[in-house]
């Protein structure tokens, strides 16, 4: 938490990041429901995300945050309602799914880098095999993104030889190499030692600066205040509250939100 607080005060001196949101809709979720067997994980979810908008999702463990964003890039199937990503309806159509996966980047709590490949190979794999790019071009793009996450000198190392913070930055670069339109983050700093959290959050703030559409599941409240256009609070599969960050933290409306915030702040 300490790091998050620091980060918050750093950024507050700069003021809140200007919103890049436009009126173009990137993600639209209507009355979406999902079950795991008999267990109702997501209940009547409605959500609209505009291009360039940055959404932070928080809520207690098991409330369905991961499941929600995994539905958005078709890692999980939903049973009822619609999810429309960049104009494409997610459903059984496999061709649509292939397309969505290349449009939506995702960063996981545990990085999920490929341990048998070097950092550079981790980054060029998608561009070369999915985008059918030549090696030289792919390498160039990869190095450009490694530069952006500030670890170009580590290109020939293996993931296992790097710190958690560095691995997470590589994971972000790996997603960016596919030039996605939307980036999803599932608790990207939860598995990190406290001293590494800031380096990852800084990269994410930079990314937000470029106008990327982002959905971030996180409990880093300082970060949420800095970048979020909207903060969503989830509990037991419901979206309980959606609010501007200032109101969300300063003046939460729902009592469950108040209770949650009092526990984590």
């Amino acid at each position: 938490m300490l790091q998050g607080e620091n980060n918050m005060s750093d950024q507050q001196s700069l003021g809140q990041l200007a919103s890049a949101a436009s009126s173009e809709v990137m993600i639209e979720i209507n009355q979406m429901n999902k079950w795991y067997g008999q267990f109702h994980v997501l209940k009547d979810i409605n959500l609209t995300v505009h291009k360039g908008e940055r959404i932070v999702i928080c809520g207690p463990s098991g409330s369905g945050k991961s499941t929600l964003i995994r539905c958005i890039n078709a890692l999980e199937e939903h049973q009822e309602g619609d999810i429309i990503v960049d104009g494409i309806v997610l459903g059984k159509n496999l061709k649509n799914l292939d397309h969505i996966r290349t449009e939506v980047g995702m960063v996981f709590q545990n990085f999920n880098l490929f341990p048998h490949l070097t950092i550079l190979e981790n980054l060029t794999l998608g561009p070369m095999w999915v985008r059918k790019m030549g090696r030289a071009e792919a390498n160039e793009i990869a190095m450009q993104y490694l530069e952006r996450v500030k670890i170009p000198e580590q290109a020939d190392k293996y993931p296992g030889q790097m710190s958690g913070g560095q691995q997470q930055r590589v994971a972000i670069a790996r997603s960016l190499c596919m030039s996605p339109k939307i980036m999803l983050f599932d608790e990207p700093t939860s598995a990190l030692d406290p001293e590494m959290i800031k380096e990852v959050l800084d990269v994410m703030v930079d990314l937000a600066d470029t106008g990327m559409t982002m959905i971030v599941v996180t409990h880093e409240m300082g970060f949420a205040r800095t970048i979020a256009d909207e903060v969503i609070f989830m509990d037991e599969g419901d979206i309980v509250e959606t609010n501007k960050p200032a109101d969300f933290f300063g003046n939460p409306e729902h009592e469950r939100t108040q209770k949650f915030l009092s526990q984590i702040l």
Partner: protein, 442 residues
């Protein structure tokens, strides 16, 4: 008030017990009276065994003799290696015509040359080399060993194999001298480094086609006399059967394992059934079934020779075992790897081929080598259904007139041979494991 340690504690040398030989001996072998007694008893047993074997196998042994009688005349208690030595060619090559044995040696040499680059650090494209061995070498070797007339198909495959071999060798030379792949080298020599990928690819394609034409022309004027498979035998036959078994068990096992994990019910049930049936019967049964029942399923007038039937049986049997090894390896890969692959847009085959299989195979190396060792040893079962593999040959020495009744020495010799082969394989697998895990730590 807190307690503060004023100085840093310097690191000290470990106690003598932990490091010196004497310390190790004291700790492990002579720590108390009972242990000391055990140590001496064990040493005595080892001494008895080794000296016994040494006297029998070397001091009292006969190495030069024309028949068993002469061995006995020389020494009654020593081994009669003369019989084994006399049968050397048979043990290694079976009844292959003596003046044609060079073909087998040449085939072995080709294989060694073909695979050698895989062990050379700077050479590029190791996976392709591996695939080219499995895909093309069998045709070249097959013709080399059996000879005779080449059909059109064989001619094409032989030409392809030759091209693959030459490319591989050139790639090795370039890799060792320039640290480049053959492709990079050719493109640079032709001055096309800046040309777009497509042009480069077309140029290489033209070169490959030209090479194929030349190879095809050359091989059409070349041939070796036919040698019937019934003349194949000895270690050569054992290695042919187990070599084909090894080369196809892994790909077959991967296909079956993927089938078993497939989302399509038909595929899954078929693969599972196939695997379970073969795994629940002993190899010898499969061999008998293959040689007696297989012909029944074949169309009228279609006769497969026994060797092919045996090879099919060995391949299927081992693919099923390998499938389970592969499945275990696949299960060990965390779900996150599939999800990571998914988010960069890789489909099923991309995920399996680029992300999952390479990692799974790495974990599986000890098990795979274990299966290969088992396969090599199991192959000796074919002597039961009448093929003269190495075991068959070793046992027929005792039926040869001059060496009548000579059982022990050939079998001891066979055991030593197998031990050398299997032990080096298992040592090598240990080495691989260490090397690969050093490359990427989790």
């Amino acid at each position: 008030m807190g307690i503060v340690k004023a100085e840093k504690t310097p690191a000290r040398v470990a106690p003598i017990f932990e490091t010196s030989v004497v310390g190790w001996l004291r700790k492990n072998l002579f720590s108390n009276t009972f242990n000391t007694i055990l140590t001496f008893i064990t040493l005595y047993i080892i001494y008895l065994t080794i000296s016994g074997v040494f006297t029998w196998g070397y001091v009292d042994a006969t190495f030069v003799a024309d028949n068993r009688r002469e061995c006995y005349d020389n020494s009654l208690t020593g081994a009669c290696w003369a019989g084994v030595i006399d049968w050397f060619d048979n043990i290694f090559y079976g009844r292959y015509p003596r003046d044609q044995i060079w073909r087998i040696n040449f085939g072995g040499l080709l294989l060694a040359l073909w695979m050698a680059p895989m062990w050379m650090g700077p050479v590029k494209g190791k996976v392709l080399i591996g695939i080219s061995v499995v895909a093309f070498y069998p045709f070249l070797a097959g013709y080399l060993f059996s000879g005779g007339d080449k059909g059109m198909f064989m001619q094409v495959m032989i030409a392809l194999a030759l091209v693959a071999f030459i490319i591989n060798m050139a790639n090795m030379v370039i890799g060792l001298s320039n640290k480049q792949s053959l492709r990079q080298f050719l493109i640079r020599v032709l001055g096309q480094s800046t040309a777009p990928d497509k042009t480069q690819r077309n140029i290489l394609l033209i070169l490959a086609v030209a090479a194929f034409g030349a190879a095809f022309f050359w091989q059409s004027g070349w041939g070796v006399e036919g040698v019937s498979w019934t003349k194949w035998g000895g270690l050569f036959l054992t290695l042919v059967i187990s070599g084909i078994g090894i080369a196809s068990a892994l790909p077959g096992g991967i296909i079956l394992a993927l089938g078993r994990r497939s989302k399509l019910p038909v595929l899954r049930v078929l693969s599972t059934g196939f695997i379970e049936v073969f795994r629940s019967v002993p190899l010898i049964t499969v061999l008998f079934m293959a040689t007696t029942m297989f012909p029944l399923f074949m169309p009228e007038g279609f006769v497969l020779n026994k060797l092919v039937q045996v090879i099919i049986a060995v391949v299927l049997f081992n693919a099923c075992y390998m499938a389970e090894t592969v499945r275990a390896g696949l299960q060990a890969i965390p779900k996150g790897q599939f999800e990571g692959a998914h988010t960069i847009g890789l489909g099923y085959w991309g995920t399996m081929g680029l992300i999952i299989m390479p990692q799974a195979l790495k974990h599986m190396i000890p098990n795979i080598v274990g299966s290969f060792i088992g396969l090599l040893k199991d192959t000796t079962l074919v002597s039961i259904i009448g093929l003269f593999d190495i075991l068959g040959m070793l046992r027929s020495i005792s039926k040869d007139q001059p060496w009548l009744g000579l059982h022990k020495e050939p079998l001891v010799f066979g055991a030593i041979l197998f031990f050398i082969i299997c032990f080096s394989m298992s040592k090598y697998s240990r080495h691989l494991e260490v090397k690969l895990s050093a490359g990427s730590r989790h």
